[in-house]
Point group: C2
Chain length 170, copies 2
């Protein structure tokens, strides 16, 4: 079974963006770039919601299968990019059973919430930044169930962000 991972940078009070969707507080360092590059080698598929895709490269990320879930964009494939109107939960459930490498859930927490509800996400990694935003875009808007986690690793980064890795308990 392929592993599905969701990772994101968050504020200490649980937001992934300011109310204006601003992320100027997010820190991107060589250390986190190296961590991302190492992780990227373990995956071959990236999942995005429509809003995340609008901020991603139009042709998708290089070297991976890019799947965009949307009921408004025209369905179809071009290059490594596929726009799919199907239910993400059912689609990802089947995708996990196919042979392949890891699967990355990108971007905001809406798609992640849908996939947590369907219990197809296996790991969550938060890069917790030393800031309180007070309000903004919450981590998993619309998540309908409680998800019990198991701490896998805690790593304090050079810039004093804290990388918290968890497996979903089943």
């Amino acid at each position: 079974m392929r592993k599905v991972t969701f990772g994101v940078g968050n504020s200490l009070d649980g937001y992934i963006a300011a109310p204006d969707h601003g992320v100027d507080w997010l820190q991107w360092t060589k250390e986190i770039a190296d961590i991302s590059a190492t992780y990227w080698k373990t995956i071959d598929t990236v999942l995005m919601g429509r809003k995340t895709y609008e901020k991603a490269p139009k042709e998708g990320y290089p070297g991976v299968r890019n799947i965009v879930f949307s009921r408004t964009l025209p369905e179809g494939s071009r290059g490594s990019l596929e726009v799919i109107a199907a239910d993400p939960a059912e689609f990802v459930t089947r995708l996990k059973e196919q042979p392949g490498k890891g699967i990355c859930v990108m971007g905001g927490g809406e798609l992640a919430a849908t996939l947590f509800d369907a219990d197809v996400i296996d790991e969550v990694v938060l890069n917790t930044h030393p800031v309180l935003l007070g309000s903004g875009v919450p981590l998993f808007p619309g998540l309908k169930r409680r998800v019990d986690l198991e701490l896998l690793a805690v790593r304090t980064l050079e810039n004093k962000c804290v990388l918290l890795s968890y497996a979903v308990r089943r």
Copy 2:
């Protein structure tokens, strides 16, 4: 200047209680009791909002000055308990300048948000639990400004909660 600290147990997605105010997911262990007892020795004053006071001992916590901020409860003192209608920000600003030990902001995040807005909180400690609640009572409802923090310590507890300690940057 006396140090003002806010500490609370939170879910990984930034809630301090479920939508029904439930906290059955909060873990209370000997280890966290010992950490609390050690911290308790450094303070002599506890600050509460009205909602937190309603769940606290009616006579307040023993061995400390208990200050309850409320515009609806009758003002006045009995024993070590004081009910105060004054603006919490102004009151705590003055309180910090008086001689004494540390000051603890108890309970939910509403009072803490008011005091963060007024920049009188010095440290925040979150006991991050391995659970996603998806919705509920957010950490600092109504916090109006961005608060930059400095990571002081990260401690993984025996029960795999992660204690994150921060100083407020000024």
